[in-house]
């Protein structure tokens, strides 16, 4: 049997393969830091949303958006970019932006669940 690690199909495996170019240790390090750091950013994003601070939400979206490519969820990066841009250009009111941001938070939480499994699988593979 071929001993090759394949990224989960739930995440975009082609993006992951292309980004890490086969360096699984590098991928594991990035997954682990993502799992540690992103939940606190989500917490801050939620707090900004509750305080109806659109600029605060925009700042967090800007900060975290590129990281989703590194865990195989490029559409989430695009979604964050769209909302960030809309807020920056004054096209989105809090009323319109809030459900979009809520949906981003849900997507992030889904990604974290998938990534946790992916990280465990990767660890097991690398420890073989």
């Amino acid at each position: 049997m071929e001993n090759v690690f394949r990224f989960s199909t739930a995440l975009d495996s082609s993006v992951l393969s292309s980004f890490y170019d086969g360096d699984l240790s590098y991928a594991l390090m990035m997954f682990e830091i993502f799992l540690v750091e992103i939940p606190s950013e989500v917490k801050t994003l939620r707090a900004e949303l509750e305080q109806e601070n659109l600029e605060g939400c925009r700042r967090i979206l800007h900060k975290i958006k590129p990281n989703f490519v590194m865990v195989g969820n490029e559409p989430l990066t695009d979604h964050c970019t769209k909302i960030e841009k809309g807020i920056k250009e004054g096209q989105l009111t809090m009323q319109i932006a809030a459900p979009e941001i809520e949906s981003i938070v849900d997507e992030i939480n889904q990604t974290l669940i998938l990534l946790e499994q992916e990280t465990n699988d990767l660890k097991q593979f690398l420890n073989q």
């Binding site: 292309s18 980004f19 390090m29 750091e37 800007h62 900060k63 975290i64 958006k65 990281n67």
Partner: protein, 231 residues
């Protein structure tokens, strides 16, 4: 193989980790510091030589663009940001390159190749720079070594007296002495380090630079004599 002494200014810990890993993979990059804001980086650069900065734009406090605006003479800068709209700013500030996050190995290596090429062409390596940076009034000021007349201790600060002006900076004489000892400087007194090439006259216990009489301590006099180009 020569390497570029590099720092990262990035507030996102995931992006920072990625850059740190990429720097670690590339032998041409010697990562000597990572900072979450530009103010800490400025402090670091007052006492460390840096060849290359990986700079995020949206930062807490002073933005990356303000940092560039306030520090007119900096080493090479590679923008590392999530928004491609900053590419124009990178061009305006004559940045070495613009990297859009997330940064992959290939894009990183290509940027470092550009920085290495520039470093080779402009000799911005660590051989022995002919300038120092001094943090004065919240700005990094570039002073040519050849313009410095002497350095005077003023309490918790040191005053760099140069042909181009006087610059007061928070530092110790010891640190300045260490930094300038590789050049033609000598500590003649606990409160004075002088540029030997600027000395115009020496008496028993003093010397003159630009009409300023500077004391020579008894314990440093012989050392000074040894450093002078005596006939």
């Amino acid at each position: 193989m020569n390497s570029l002494r590099s720092i990262i200014i990035e507030d996102d810990l995931v992006a920072l980790k990625n850059l740190e890993i990429l720097c670690g993979k590339d032998p041409r990059v010697n990562l000597i510091g990572s900072f979450g804001n530009s103010e800490d980086a400025v402090d670091f650069m007052t006492s460390n030589d840096v060849d290359l900065i990986f700079l995020d734009v949206e930062l807490p406090g002073e933005s990356g663009l303000d940092f560039l605006e306030n520090s007119p003479a900096l080493p090479q800068v590679i923008f590392a940001t999530a928004n491609k709209e900053y590419a124009f700013d990178a061009f305006q500030f004559e940045a070495t390159d613009f990297l859009k996050k997330p940064i992959s190995v290939g894009k990183f290596e290509a940027s470092v190749t550009k920085a290495m090429k520039n470093a080779n062409e402009t000799r911005t390596f660590r051989e022995k720079p002919n300038y120092i940076f001094v943090k004065s009034d919240g700005r990094l000021v570039k002073i040519m070594i050849s313009d410095i007349l002497f350095i005077e201790n003023v309490g918790d600060y040191v005053k760099v007296v140069a042909n181009t002006g006087n610059f007061v900076t928070y530092n110790t004489m010891r640190a300045v002495d260490e930094k300038l000892s590789q050049y033609d400087f000598y500590k003649v007194h606990r409160s004075f380090i002088v540029n030997l090439s600027k000395v115009v006259d020496i008496e028993d216990n003093s010397l003159i630079i630009n009409d300023k009489v500077i004391p020579i301590s008894r314990s440093n006099r012989q050392g000074l004599m040894d450093r002078l180009n005596l006939l």
